[in-house]
Point group: C4
Chain length 239, copies 4
Amino acid sequence: MGKFEYSLGLNELKSKEQRLWQSLIGEFMGNLILNFFACGACTQIENGTFKALAFGLAIFVAITIVGHLSGGHVNPAVTIAMLVAGRISVLRALLYIVFQCLGAIAGTGAVKILLDEHYRGSLGHTALETHVTELQGLGIEFFLGLVLVLTVFGACDSNKPDSRYTAPLAIGMSVTLGHLGTIRYTGASMNPARTLGTAFATDNWNAHWVYWLGPILGGVAAALLYTQVLEAKAPPKNT
Amino acid sequence: MGKFEYSLGLNELKSKEQRLWQSLIGEFMGNLILNFFACGACTQIENGTFKALAFGLAIFVAITIVGHLSGGHVNPAVTIAMLVAGRISVLRALLYIVFQCLGAIAGTGAVKILLDEHYRGSLGHTALETHVTELQGLGIEFFLGLVLVLTVFGACDSNKPDSRYTAPLAIGMSVTLGHLGTIRYTGASMNPARTLGTAFATDNWNAHWVYWLGPILGGVAAALLYTQVLEAKAPPKNT
Amino acid sequence: MGKFEYSLGLNELKSKEQRLWQSLIGEFMGNLILNFFACGACTQIENGTFKALAFGLAIFVAITIVGHLSGGHVNPAVTIAMLVAGRISVLRALLYIVFQCLGAIAGTGAVKILLDEHYRGSLGHTALETHVTELQGLGIEFFLGLVLVLTVFGACDSNKPDSRYTAPLAIGMSVTLGHLGTIRYTGASMNPARTLGTAFATDNWNAHWVYWLGPILGGVAAALLYTQVLEAKAPPKNT
Amino acid sequence: MGKFEYSLGLNELKSKEQRLWQSLIGEFMGNLILNFFACGACTQIENGTFKALAFGLAIFVAITIVGHLSGGHVNPAVTIAMLVAGRISVLRALLYIVFQCLGAIAGTGAVKILLDEHYRGSLGHTALETHVTELQGLGIEFFLGLVLVLTVFGACDSNKPDSRYTAPLAIGMSVTLGHLGTIRYTGASMNPARTLGTAFATDNWNAHWVYWLGPILGGVAAALLYTQVLEAKAPPKNT
Ligand SMILES: [Ca+2]
Ligand SMILES: [Ca+2]
Ligand SMILES: [Ca+2]
Ligand SMILES: [Ca+2]
């Protein structure tokens, strides 16, 4: 029963050790930064490299700021992947996702307040391009979630200490890569909270389910693939 | 009273240990590099990615050159944030800011001397875009200062040794991110000295107060948020 | 004869220690990521920087995910260079190449399925520009393979531990560099599997041999040059 | 006299320990890579970011490949700065510069052979823009050499071990920064060998002295400034 309580995470609510509340503020700040700066970058008249760097660097910066507290998920698809991999409790996962969504809403809300309607455009909202069906969009967002979460696992694998120093950069650059590969077709969300934030501000909920199901399925597939097949072996212990 | 003397920093003037004068030359050089190369990049006919990389890489390079001496602030908003966080004395902070401003003036001055008027344009001066009010500009510059200083704290947190090797890169890329997110609206200064340097050379002081108050308020908010909420815990000591 | 068996690698088929099958899945995934995201990036209407970053970041990300399993070759030219340098057995090299090719075919296949024909263009296939002869193309692809494989050796040299933390980034950026230098002329393949993947999907086999022979000859030259001339000396052992 | 012999470096010709010949091949390869890929990038129809990344990444890659042998100067201005700082002997410096120039000539020579005249353009040769005088060009190239060499010293300072892992990246990005800041005006050479290579291939020697004197004066100034003022203090020895 102690085990059951742990996996639900109820004990985290009373624990100072786990710093749950700081983690939640961290996840809130991370998604605020993402939606303020990277979705904000989409309101300018610039090219795809500009946008792709904005999203990747926002994640690099967000993990630099809050990664030590919460793990720096900044994305419900990452959080659910960590839940599937047994790295986080159900309660913590749910609270993370709530605060990620609130952060994204706050970030795009701040952009909306600070920019005259002249500049807002679609506030960086993601949408399916004309000839992309919802099923195709789902497939693209699946691959985006898959590669992002594989990168998170590969960069943070504790049996691969060589990766730790550049892990935030690698994760950020996987986000840039996703945008370079697919931004024209789905907007390359790979992050349900990020899309929720711009959907809320623009009241545009077209194909919204695609941006939740795609990245989350991709993230879950990545969690299974990495932990079952790709994980680095523990180095031999010296006795 | 020894305490009082320390927080004012008067003893630093006689101390060889603290290398105050080298630090001041370092801050001068840092802002000279920023205004020479990055504001210089704005005089060319290139796109937003070009400018955003120039500012971020200038900070990466400046911290690589002088970070070990002065901490590599290269920005009055960072210096005031460090003062609020108790990491630097009042005297040192004031001298840093003076030398940052002199460096920025020298950097843009050198660009002005070396470029025919044909090429100067506005010398990379920051200005509010047409439909951006001063209050909106203040809000945007607040967010820029906030995220820059949060990144400085997150990257340099001594309880997070994994961040130290890429800290100069992370701080530089937070500057690039700020430009990607907001360059169209305020020029994405986030640095009062940088804007003072171009204001001085162009004698354009429109909305100048916005470029001081915004980043400094953001930096102070970041100092409080990071030190009170987000800071990494010290690892347990082994006795 | 034990020696002979080893260099052929037959014993790897029964060894759990070497994790051969995980390595093969790793190489498959690496080339899938490369062809899905980076060749996918070529289907968008963007400039050369966009494409060059996509290929380099795809390699950075792929090595982050699978480098610990297979060495992260993700390229038959790298695998053959490692064979020449005696770092991998014949059997392992052959299997790597098969799975690299299958991964590339799968990656571009997924792009083809997920994108309406409206968007596919040439699916990022490499081709010789009008005024580039096959011999010139061979020379360009030779230099591409040479520098890529020199970077792999330089970054992963075990006598140069300072390089290890940024090795995946350095290798990825050598791929970006190759694209910046030559993308207009041969498409900057430097990777026979990547080109096989798009040739298969578009059924375009023009000058296909150039994209195998060029990078492989370059890779072999790099293996000889690095191991015979450039390799770091082992640090002196303390007895 | 042993001292005199050392500073002239005559003993290096007979020493296997110093690996002089490998170093020279390293410097040759470094400049070949720079002129082949980065000057090659200038023959394509792309923007300033494209070129600036090409030069910076070429240096990052070159140092990754040969930095452990020769120090990875890949630039006569860096070599002369190291000579002034007493880090290299006169003989070694002279030989480095000869092989850097030969490498640059070979690199641009290879581009010329491999590209139809249709594509060659000016082969990436640097030239002063119309309204830039030779004296202004000298000043710009001075600043380029200054900041490049300051970055080399700052990144490689043995009293600053935190910088060592990202040193090749930082040096490369200082080259990118220089291009972002000044490419329109002088071509942002900062490297006499690089310009010699393209001058040789195009037989264009206009203002050639500017591209030698400017970076070298800047490099010498940087060597003096860093070693006399900015150098990190040795950490206290524990006895
Ligand atoms: Ca259709
Ligand atoms: Ca208005
Ligand atoms: Ca021809
Ligand atoms: Ca004139």
